[in-house]
């Protein structure tokens, strides 16, 4: 496939936004059970604001992918069958939940809704946080399933696609949370940093599993099944045109080699941040550098994700002429 930068930015930006929100609410949940020091509402509100900016930027990037962005509202109609339509519904819903969560913290709406047996107080922000967490995971599933549901694109047609979206989005969000905490609540930075390391290591395992799986894939369709002629040697002499078409532009990445991208994204998205975390958990400069490197790695990872997928339609478009 030819990677579209609008979609690369969409998936990586909202992934980081979702991850950051999950990190914030994880922090609040730990604080709720007195495992972490409690924070002022402003900390969560500011974090939610950063998360919202990322989500809005991702949503904005997605519009560049559309031929008719003015009709985008129509995309909410087919949620019964289309994962893309489901994402179009869940993304604004999640943004709404993050907004309400941040607002409730900012305004100090902490009226007690329930008290757990252990004396833990459940207020409005907790309820909104749980709702946001569910929507964050739902959004990860929708985004991943957009790709995982296409059975012809066998590189994507795997549960690993969804798992990777969750783990990589989560890792980038927790790195960002560690950076944010190092500036506003330094005592929380190591907590987010450790979670970021765990998520990065899990992400490295699942992404590597996907790479190994895709490396072993053998195409299900061949030129023989594509044109229905059972002869071991078939060569295309002409695809029917000379100047290229949508079919030659959309489904091939045109890059000479994929080999250099794979080690680059593994190094940037996993290696470099892990090394920086090994140096310091709370130095804002190092954490900022770790986030920038990790995010660049994720851009490369997503580019590779698209470029690696080999569409069976390419069987029909092998020889210009």
């Amino acid at each position: 496939m030819n990677p579209a930068f609008s979609v690369i930015f969409l998936t990586t930006l909202i992934g980081a936004g979702q991850g950051l929100f999950l990190a914030l609410f994880t922090g609040q949940s730990y604080a709720l059970f007195n495992l972490l020091p409690k924070q002022e509402g402003g900390f969560y509100a500011a974090g939610s604001f950063i998360s919202l900016i990322l989500l809005a930027a991702g949503l904005g990037a997605s519009f560049f992918h559309l031929g008719h962005p003015e009709r985008a509202w129509r995309a909410a109609s087919q949620w019964r069958t289309s994962w893309l339509s489901r994402e179009v519904i869940v993304l604004p819903a999640f943004m709404g939940a993050v907004f309400c969560y941040g607002l409730a913290h900012w305004m100090g709406w902490q009226s007690v809704l329930a008290v757990l047996p252990g004396g833990t107080v459940i207020d409005l922000t907790v309820v909104l946080g749980i709702l946001g967490t569910l929507l964050a995971f739902l959004l990860f599933v929708c985004t991943g399933m957009i790709y995982a549901c296409l059975r012809f694109l066998r590189e994507w047609h795997s549960p690993l696609t969804v798992v990777n979206f969750i783990l990589l989005g989560g890792a980038s969000g927790f790195i960002l949370a560690a950076l944010f905490a190092s500036l506003s609540a330094p005592e929380l930075a190591p907590f987010f940093a450790v979670w970021a390391i765990i998520l990065m290591l899990l992400g490295l395992v699942s992404r590597s599993a996907a790479l190994i799986r895709n490396h072993r894939l053998r195409p299900k369709s061949t030129l023989q099944t594509a044109i229905g002629i059972k002869h071991p040697r078939i060569v295309q002499k002409s695809m029917g045109f000379m100047g290229g078409s949508f079919n030659t532009r959309e489904f091939s990445h045109g890059a000479a080699s994929l080999r250099s991208i794979k080690p680059a994204f593994l190094l940037l998205a996993f290696g470099a941040p892990l090394i920086l975390f090994a140096v310091s958990f709370s130095n804002p400069i190092l954490l900022g550098l770790a986030f920038v490197l990790h995010y660049c790695g994720l851009l490369a990872e997503r580019w590779f994700f698209f470029a690696e997928a080999n569409h069976p339609q390419n069987l029909y478009y092998q020889t210009l002429g």
Partner: protein
């Protein structure tokens, strides 16, 4: 249930591209607007087409065969491009099984083209909507045309009648008989999309002559020669033969 479809006979197709140009001519002139082209008279022309004729070489020289292979939307009975559409612009008509795109609803997200294993959908780079073969839906039901003209433009254009058009769910239709009797097959059956369009394979007619067919069975000495001429007094079949 009706399922309209094309049946393309690879045994007869000569690769003349008449179906391509005829399709383009009809579908660029219709109510739905042009099938846009970019740089049509320059070095790298490109444009939107519903139908392409491709050429494959089968075998190794000198035992090769050139197969011309026309490809358009196959109007799958289980079209993978339809459920993924987020707006409902892509749909399959219940009444005749044609898969269509509503150009007024399409947002140009290209997701349906990713979901089609055949590469049958092409985006119109100027109108920014996805386009594909309509089986000339604006033609086959047009009562102002003579009945013989109510066929897709490609079918009408084919000089060798390599393209048949009809209802593959009607067992007595020409297309059903052609599929049944000439080994019609679907493309990429491994994905279970059940394409409605079928292809008829190359067929070779071998003349098998046995030894005894070369010799007259009434020639026991195996000597070929003229039969003895009957005498002039012998009765003839009529007054015209022989003498």
């Amino acid at each position: 249930m009706t399922q309209l479809a094309l049946v393309i006979d690879l045994n007869v197709c000569v690769g003349c591209h008449a179906c391509v140009t005829s399709c383009k001519e009809w579908n660029t002139s219709g109510d739905a607007g042009p099938l846009c082209d970019e740089r049509p008279y320059e070095a790298e022309p490109t444009g939107t087409f519903f139908n392409r004729v491709q050429t494959f070489e089968v075998g190794e020289f000198p035992a090769t065969e050139t197969v011309h292979f026309p490809k358009s939307c196959l109007h799958c009975e289980d079209p993978p491009c339809v459920p993924v559409c987020p707006t409902g612009a892509s749909y399959k008509r219940k009444e005749d099984g044609i898969v269509l795109v509503d150009y007024d609803k399409c947002i140009g997200c290209k997701y349906c083209s990713w979901a089609c294993p055949y590469g049958a959908r092409e985006i119109d780079e100027k109108q920014k909507v996805m386009k594909k073969c309509t089986l000339c839906v604006d033609r086959i039901y047009d009562l102002s045309l003579a009945e013989i003209d109510r066929k897709p433009a490609c079918v009408k254009a084919c000089p060798t009648s390599a393209r048949l058009f009809g209802d593959i769910h009607d067992p007595e239709s020409t297309v059903s008989k052609a599929i049944r009797e000439n080994g019609g097959y679907a493309l990429m059956p491994e994905w279970g999309t059940q394409p409605a369009n079928h292809y008829l394979p190359r067929r070779k007619t071998h003349l098998r002559i046995h030894e005894d067919e070369l010799e007259r069975s009434s020639n026991p000495l195996r000597i070929d020669g003229l039969l003895p001429k009957p005498g002039k007094s012998e009765p003839s079949l009529d007054d015209i033969t022989s003498w």
